[in-house]
């Protein structure tokens, strides 16, 4: 089969936790004949679903890592990236969306659009990803696909249009009615692998006709020919398909499918929709940045003959070395090719080129434009761009959220310490939002992440995969310090007691910076400080900002202006001026009325109306500010801003206040000033800690 890029589909499956996404993916693999038996996700028959490579995932029933796999459906190669649903794993979803062309949004037919679906949808919008929706679990009690479709419209603002109606629901789910072909579709065979089309059951004919009209009305907005054909009453399937495709690609239409992956209903129809309506790589415009040309945007031209541009979007450290997943945007890559990593500025040769299927690898000799493949044993980082002709083009930097919570981890013994090091090494390479450092004062290893669950999972993995048991300290919030007013400085660093000395004087002022973290302005006139030492002054200030004297946290939002100084012919040096700058900052910081800032999270809580009061109260108790509440039917959704430091244990708290019926998501919003009383407490704690350390 010669490679035809127009047949290729790169898709992601994004959804809320527990919407049955992993089961769905497993079914897709099965129907595409990649695996030979279907295993239930939670290991009911002893074997876990193929996509969940890790035991941990199987136990918790959640998917953690994003695995890429490719399948073929009706002559179309499809790359599927399975992405995790929980907000703490946002970076995984973001990365997947960055490299994909289309997505399937999976929703539960009972739960409908929930907080996580909203976060995921926001991510999809950020990257302009066309999608189709799949309402899963229609076999569950309380399944109501119509309501879910309405929620897509009301809560996510989609122009969601049903492409099918169910034949039976809950335990009576039998199949679906395809509104385009106006046929009933049943999924027969032991695993639903045989698609059978029959006449629409009498009882459903009226409803089908009605819903088809609705569908045609919505879809004809994208095609004048279809609209005409509707008036002339000679609508063809082709016209409808074209219109749906146009609508979906323009992001103004979301075709909605339904079924139950678990009960083997509807999956093949979804696959048909994927190949019919989601874009091929040629239909998505991607841009790269010309680093040599002030980051001017270049539109990518997919095509094997073009110069190669590929993005490394996922790293995995396996037993044999590092596996780097890449998306080829332009050109093609052959085994033995030479590629250039524009970040590390190093050339490397392509050794093994692989196509991934969850846990097994297939060696290939070439990968084409639009494909997703993997390289073996290449030293690189997630987010690196590779080019084939040495051009300095970078795929736009991926959005990486800053970690907001950190935790001290102490290995229980020496062996655990070694293993922990290996584990952290691997995790940090794979996930830029998981970071680590050693606290110079306590000598403890600190890990940083996006939320409690994020860190919890890594700690579990350390234990299971690396045999590294650790004790954890209390989670620490990433505070920041900043100044609130201008203060002058005039500092002399002098050490001239015989022999070569050090001398440098810096004068100027620091003031709050509205936008941005740091700015350095040189207003020295007449060489009061020789030009060659200015960078050292800048460096000195930057070093000082790493740790503020209030609570030892990074200082941000500072503008430094130097306008005077003094140097000595012999004793001045880079070091002297750097030290002078550090001294100047230390002396003047208190005068600038520094304040402490804390991360404020945007918290979204969703629960039944009857618990509204409890939800409001729970936010209020945590120094939260309610921004809005939206009521719809039985549920209310509350949006609030709550300091991260108050969010620990909220999950348990919310569960008990709402009989487990409410849930929440949170993401970083901004930094806000800490109230006076808390500020005083933090400062006191820090001072006590310092005294203890000094006393040691």
């Amino acid at each position: 089969m010669s490679f035809d890029i127009t047949k290729m589909r790169n898709i992601g499956i994004s959804a809320h936790i527990d919407s049955g996404k992993t089961t769905l993916t497993e079914r897709i693999l099965f129907y595409c004949k990649r695996i030979h038996a279907i295993h239930e996700v939670r290991g009911k028959d002893g074997v876990g679903a193929t996509m969940d490579s890790m035991e941990l995932e199987r136990e918790r029933g959640i998917t953690i890592a994003s695995a890429a796999t490719n399948v073929t459906w009706k002559d179309h190669p499809i790359n599927i990236i399975d992405t995790p649903g929980h907000v703490d794993f946002t970076i995984e979803v973001e990365r997947a969306l960055r490299v994909l062309d289309g997505a399937v949004l999976v929703l539960c037919s009972v739960g409908g659009v929930q907080s996580q679906s909203i976060t995921v949808d926001r991510q999809m919008k950020r990257y302009n990803v066309p999608r189709v929706a799949f309402i899963n679990k229609c076999d569950r009690t309380g399944a109501n696909p119509y309501k879910v479709k309405d929620q897509l419209v009301e809560k996510l603002g989609h122009n969601a249009v049903l492409m099918q109606i169910p034949i039976g629901l809950e335990d009576k789910l039998e199949g679906v009615v395809d509104l385009v072909r106006m046929k009933a579709v049943y999924f027969r065979g032991p695993s639903g692998e045989e698609l059978v089309e029959e006449e629409i059951p009498e009882a459903l004919k009226a409803e089908a006709a009605e819903k088809r009209e609705e569908m045609l009305d919505a879809v004809s907005m994208f095609s004048d020919e279809l609209m005409e054909a509707m008036m002339e009453e000679n609508v063809t399937e082709e016209l409808v398909h074209d219109a749906i495709k146009k609508g979906t690609l323009s992001l103004e239409l979301t075709p909605v499918y339904m079924g139950s992956a678990y009960k083997n209903v509807g999956v093949q129809s979804l696959l048909d929709a994927v190949i019919a309506y989601l874009p091929n790589p040629l239909q998505i415009e991607n841009k790269a940045l010309d680093v040599d040309n002030d980051e001017a945007e270049i539109v990518i031209q997919p095509g094997d003959e073009q110069p190669t541009i590929a993005l490394a979007f996922k790293l995995e450290d396996g037993q044999y070395g590092q596996l780097t997943y890449i998306r080829i945007y332009q050109g093609c890559i052959k085994k033995g090719d030479e590629l250039y990593n524009i970040r590390s500025r190093k050339k490397f040769k392509v050794g093994r080129l692989i196509k991934m299927h969850s846990d097994h690898m297939e060696d290939i000799t070439e990968a084409h434009s639009g494909e997703i493949a993997a390289l073996f044993g290449i030293d690189c980082a997630s987010g690196d761009t590779f080019t084939g002709n040495g051009a300095n083009w970078s795929m736009t930097s991926m959005f990486v959220p800053e970690p907001v919570i950190s935790l001290a981890v102490t290995p229980v013994d020496k062996k655990a310490a070694d293993n922990m090091g290996k584990a952290i090494n691997r995790f940090t390479k794979e996930d830029p939002t998981f970071q680590t450092y050693v606290d110079p004062e306590s000598n403890q290893t600190i890990i940083k992440g996006m939320g409690e669950l994020h860190l919890e999972v890594y700690i579990e993995r350390m234990k299971r995969e690396y045999n590294a048991e650790v004790e954890t300290g209390a989670p620490q919030v990433a505070y920041r310090e900043t100044i609130s007013q201008r203060a002058d400085f005039n500092y002399t660093h002098k050490k001239q007691t015989g022999g070569s000395g050090q001398f440098g004087r810096v004068a100027g002022f620091i003031e709050p910076l509205e936008e941005g973290e740091y700015e350095f302005v040189n207003e020295i006139k007449g060489g009061a400080i020789p030009t060659e030492y200015i960078p050292a002054v800048d460096k000195g200030f930057q070093m000082s900002l790493k740790k503020g004297s209030l609570i030892g946290h990074p200082v941000v939002g500072v503008k430094v202006t130097i306008n005077d100084g003094q140097s000595h012919a012999v004793d001045s040096s880079d070091m002297a001026f750097q030290t002078a700058a550090i001294g100047a900052f230390r002396d003047t910081y208190a005068k600038a009325k520094p304040i402490i800032m804390e991360p404020i999270m945007k918290v979204n809580v969703e629960g039944p109306n009857e618990f509204q009061g409890n939800i409001f109260a729970s936010i209020n108790q945590r120094r939260g500010m309610i921004v809005s509440s939206a009521e719809e039917g039985m549920f209310c959704q509350v949006e609030a801003e709550v300091p991260l430091s108050e969010m620990f244990g909220y999950s348990t708290n919310l569960r008990s206040l709402t009989q487990g019926k409410a849930e929440f998501t949170m993401e970083f919003q901004k930094y806000g000033k800490v109230p006076q009383s808390i500020s005083e407490e933090l400062i006191k704690e820090y001072e006590e800690k310092r005294k203890k350390e000094a006393g040691k």
């Binding site: 603002g157 109306n609 509204q612 109260a617 500010m625 921004v627 809005s628 509440s629 939206a630 009521e631």
Partner: protein
């Protein structure tokens, strides 16, 4: 200009003077006009003025998205800040937001009891000390004076005032001899303050139709600036 001056020089002081100082606790005020004249802008400006004076406002909406409403507030505040060259505008705006909560309902399915229940939960359990409630987008055609009475009783109980926007039907809505829109006649007893917005030439004029006890049309000598959408002299 600093915040204090901003408040004292706001055209809303004239607005309030024209209606005996304001709507008042336990009372209902309505801004009426046909579609697209500027009711939401007016209400938002009224709300922003209250927020600037450290009053707490609950903005209740029956349509559209919360983001849409937030944009309104942002825009109106920006215009005010620009017009008066407000000092330290970002900080003022931050404080403003703390005093405001938006509550969104889909009126079709929501009873007035449900709305009152939720408002109460926000005020009591949410510890939000509301002084004013803005009801934007309430459908007076489908609603009833009984519902408004219930809301008035609630307002009385909680010691707060309520402002409504009322959309009048048609291109040229009808008014009776006293200047009361025909669409709102049946509500007149429950409404304490009624202000009409009407186009006169290029500008939108504000006219008091009912001012607590008095029912007579009176020009407030205020208009809605079409560019900034602010109430101006």
């Amino acid at each position: 200009m600093v915040k204090k001056e901003l408040i004292s020089r706001s055209p809303l002081r004239i607005f309030e003077k024209s209606i005996h100082g304001g709507v008042g606790k336990g009372k209902i005020g309505v801004i009426a006009s046909k579609k697209g004249v500027g009711k939401t802008a007016c209400l938002t400006h009224i709300a922003v003025d209250k927020l600037l004076r450290d009053r707490h406002v609950i903005h209740v909406s029956f349509a559209g998205s919360v983001d849409h409403i937030i944009s309104w507030y942002d825009d109106i505040f920006k215009e005010i800040a620009k017009k008066r060259e407000l000092e330290d505008a970002p900080k003022v705006q931050e404080d403003l937001i703390k005093n405001r909560v938006i509550m969104n309902f889909s009126q079709a399915g929501t009873s007035v009891e449900q709305v009152i229940g939720s408002l109460k939960a926000m005020i009591d359990e949410g510890h939000f000390p509301a002084n004013s409630i803005i009801f934007d987008g309430y459908n007076f055609e489908e609603g009833s004076p009984e519902s408004l009475k219930k809301l008035a009783a609630f307002a009385e109980e909680m010691g707060l005032e309520i402002w409504f926007s009322a959309s009048l039907k048609g291109e040229t809505p009808k008014f009776n001899d006293n200047g009361v829109p025909v669409d709102l006649e049946r509500y007149l007893d429950v409404i304490d303050v009624l202000v009409d917005l009407r186009y006169e030439g290029a500008f939108v004029h504000l006219e008091v139709v009912k001012d607590h006890g008095d029912v007579e049309s009176r020009d407030m000598k205020l208009r809605l600036d079409p560019k900034s959408l602010l109430i101006a002299e």
